[in-house]
Amino acid sequence: MDVIEEGKGGLFTDPDPDKARAFFRKKSRKMENKLMMLKEAVEKFVHDGDYLAIGGFGANRTPIAACHEIVRQGRKNMAFAGHTSTHDFQILSAGKVFNRLDIAYIIGLEARGLSQCARKYMQSGEVEISEWTNYSLAARLKAAAMGVPFVPTRNMLGTDTLKHSGAKVVACPFTGKKMTLQPALYPDISVIHVHEADVFGNCRIRGIMISDDDLARASKHLIITTERLIPNEEIRRDPTNTVIPYYLVDAVCEVPFGAYPGTMPYEYFSDEVHLQEWLKAEKNPEDFKEFLNRNIYDCPDNFEYIERNGGLAKMNELRMKEFLLHKEADNGGL
């Protein structure tokens, strides 16, 4: 297959499946207790310079507590998958955690507005970038999960997005049609927030998967934050519900409300007031510094973060909202 066209964006990871296999060959298959504190998991598995990916979708089932911990510990010079990233991107930009970036969706918080801090960082010239789409990054994770160097897709063709990506276009050997080859993306470290996990790392997720099944399989190291621990007997009672098997996982951290202020399906809805506070604080550097100190740098952990933003009473309110009970309780406004 001759390459017809290729993007000039860089690849920040090696798509070679044999290198990945050599890594996975050495990864432990032992079903052992991987329970640890989030602080310890980030110390142990998130390193300066690594390629980082975050599960969920922006502010939906996203491991926000882990993003805070990564910023709190001052990780730098990482590469990052800006795949469906919104509030996670905003947090990691505030800490200038990454300087290489695969972009699909960044800066924005969807209907909520744009992060001034993230935009400023992206316009500073400090970040090396490569352009993709949400599906392209999902397909790249899928290729890695399949253990192959690329998968063909039919997007990006004819656009500047392709020109600034690391994808290549070839003619299909069967049909002659142009196909975009999406190179496998093997993150060094990923964090995924789940509903339930046992201490070994067998995980259950409710609601949409987004790309987390493939992300878990593509990642060399994987930290799981879970709303709650469940016994292994429960996993074995109903194995149909296991979406991430233990051998993909390096650390299991029980972090209730670990996706706050984002949404956790069937648990709690997003805290739109707090997300607006973020966007507002970013407009003034002094305010923002104070805001980050209060919520991240001078905040020891997620329990204290929750306390500082309304505590259990707030969590209960967001739970009502998730189950649409707020409509009966008040006027239903956000």
Binding site: F57, Y105, R119, G158, T161, T263
Partner: protein, 256 residues
């Protein structure tokens, strides 16, 4: 005649494009409102899909994110990004609604940068998200936007998302799935389609109170005129009532 605002007429006109039984990939905001309105008027069996994985939800309220819990509330399936985009790529999704900071006469969209230097842009925008994917795969792509010469430009600063590329058969030559592409552009002043041969944007209807010239004056490139330009049917009382009372009672979208 009913009294309505800019956003209301755009949503009502868009909703009428979605026929019963069709599939549509939508984001948040006005497109989602249009799909919800269609379901509550003439297209009760319209299937809504969200890129994060929600399929055919019974939307209890306007979602804030394309991945929040509302996007799969009482849905038939809570899936993922690959499932949705691959369903689009297989040819199963009829419509999508997209937007952008800039659009050209072929419906190419820019949501990546403003400025001519990619490395040092004047403004960095969010990027494609799922827009490039939806526009590549869905049969008919539509845009809901305000008619503004700063948005309708001769040349977009960056082609994030494909329209008809350079017109004619250039989209097919680029290798994109055949016969899919931009379909209608719905603005506060009128509705445009794309002339079948040249694939250039063409005015087919004008909204009450506007003329072809109004649309042309608020467009940065020369528009084609359909042989017969009709007047857009304004929102009906029924459409407005459902939109205001059931689709967007807190005026998140129509209050903008």
């Amino acid at each position: 005649m009913a009294d309505y605002n800019t956003m209301e007429i755009m949503i009502c006109v868009a909703a009428r494009e979605l026929e019963d039984g069709a599939t549509v990939g939508v984001g948040t905001g006005a497109p989602c409102a249009a799909a919800m309105l269609a379901q509550k008027t003439d297209a009760p069996n319209l299937v809504i899909m969200f890129e994060a994985g929600g399929v055919n939800p019974i939307l209890p309220e306007m979602p804030i994110s394309v991945g929040d819990s509302r996007t799969f509330y009482k849905a038939v399936m809570a899936s993922g990004m690959c499932e949705i985009m691959e369903t689009c790529c297989r040819g199963f999704v009829d419509y999508t609604f997209l937007g952008g900071a800039q659009m050209d006469m072929y419906g190419n969209l820019n949501s990546t940068i403003i400025g001519d230097d990619y490395i040092h842009p004047k403004v960095r925008l969010p990027g494609s998200g799922g827009a490039n994917d939806f526009a590549s795969f869905c049969w008919r792509m539509m845009v809901l936007t305000v008619q503004d010469a700063r948005r309708f430009v001769e040349k977009v600063d960056f082609v994030t998302t494909p329209g008809w590329i350079e017109g004619g058969d250039s989209r097919a030559k680029a290798g994109l799935p055949l016969d899919a592409g931009p379909y209608k552009i719905i603005t506060n002043m009128g509705v445009m389609d794309f002339e079948p041969e040249s694939k250039r944007m063409r005015v087919i209807s004008v909204n009450p109170g506007y003329s072809f010239n109004d649309i042309q004056e608020n467009c940065g490139f020369e528009l084609l005129r359909a042989a017969k330009i009709v007047e857009t049917t304004p929102p009906t009382d029924k459409e407005l009532r459902i939109l205001r009372e059931e689709v967007d009672p807190y005026r998140y979208i129509i209050g903008r």
